[in-house]
């Protein structure tokens, strides 16, 4: 496959094969920071945090997806994203994400007892990822 400029990406959730196609590169939210996967990347397993999965398509268009944490696995024959939840920009309810963000932020600033902090943080991260995806997509990237 020398000279190939794209590779195969699949995004899987427990519910379904969420997205698949050939891509030029992927920029993903790793637990230790953003990373990029180009063609011919060494076999790797990355843990993801909730965030934006940025995919560059063969025709140079961008595809953004909000992912809810999980893994990105680079295998010689394909690259897979395993995530608990994934959403395309058109599936995102911006108003709802906004409300979720406010709710989580309020919980985190008040820190009243009975607040599940890791859970609120995760909710906040997911809401921010959704908002970002919606924003990128509407910014005319496509």
């Amino acid at each position: 496959m020398a000279g190939e400029r794209t590779y195969r990406l699949e995004v899987l959730t427990l519910q379904r094969m969420f997205w698949q196609g050939d891509v030029r590169f992927v920029i993903a939210p790793g637990q230790e920071g953003l990373f990029e996967v180009l063609v011919g990347h060494a076999p790797y397993v990355f843990a993801l945090k909730p965030g934006v999965l940025h995919v560059r398509l063969p025709d140079e268009r961008n595809q953004y997806m909000a992912v809810g944490g999980g893994f990105l696995v680079v295998q010689p024959d394909r690259t897979s994203v395993l995530t608990r939840s994934a959403e395309l920009p058109e599936e995102i309810d911006v108003a709802r994400a906004q409300r979720a963000r406010e709710r989580a932020e309020k919980r985190l600033t008040e820190r009243s007892e009975g607040v599940d902090v890791p859970r609120a943080q995760a909710a906040l991260a997911r809401a921010l990822a959704r908002l970002k995806v919606a924003e990128y997509a509407s910014a005319g990237a496509r």
Partner: protein, 292 residues
Amino acid sequence: MPSARDIRRRIRGVRNIKQVTRAMNMIAAARLRRAQAKAEAARPYAQRLTEILTDVAAAGGARHPLLERREVRRVGLVIITSDRGLAGAFNANILREAGHFVAQQRVPTGIITVGKKGRDFLRARGVTVDEHFPQPSRDVRLEEVGAIRKRIIGDFLSGRYDQVWLAYAQFISVLKSVPVVIPLLPLEPPTEAAGAPRQRAAYQFEPAGDALLETLLPQYVEVVLYRALVESLASEQAARMVAMKAATDSASEMIENLTREYNRMRQDAITKQLLEVVSGADALAKAEQEMA
């Protein structure tokens, strides 16, 4: 001896029941298809996640509290049943299997139930249920699975249970589901032999080693749970579909028999009336002859 009218009433009653059972049969069939599709759809994800876990474990030195074997002083058993009945022996089969399991344990067993039928059965027998979860909706949403997962992992890590097992109805086919009890915690990383041979690569991990397990293992527990819940759902719908088919068939047979009985009674009544009319006429004719 029931009157003809009683029989007519019974026929009507059975016919109504038959309509209900037939509708339930068709609904169960539709839900079964959806549950099967769900089980099918989860397979690639589950397989890939299992592969990662296998590779991480094969890379060696996998250490994590969820993998830790300790002396077993108390066992936890998660029993997955349904919230609803009318599914043939579905719940009874799982509960019997779970009962065998508990009887074999040499240490106390704590029970977590998923599904109302299991909880009600055990409570009626005076068994304490440590924790109960309603059966997840037919969509088997991740939040629902996550709540159960959290509790199980928490109970294992806190030392409340030193082992956790999972009892559910494994779906084989529409006509066959097998109640099984499988070990869940501590996790036994799948070995290479268990999976199909595949292309292996020397992976690097980020974050390295144990930190990755921190994310991976709870996810893996969730996948095992999710699959058990979906399979249990498919088994339940299949059992209900078969039970309702049988009920519909016996209702048809009952209607047939009752109709036959009703017709015979009607015939008898007609014959009797005819006889009465004829003999009455005969008697009249005789009397007239004698008078003449």
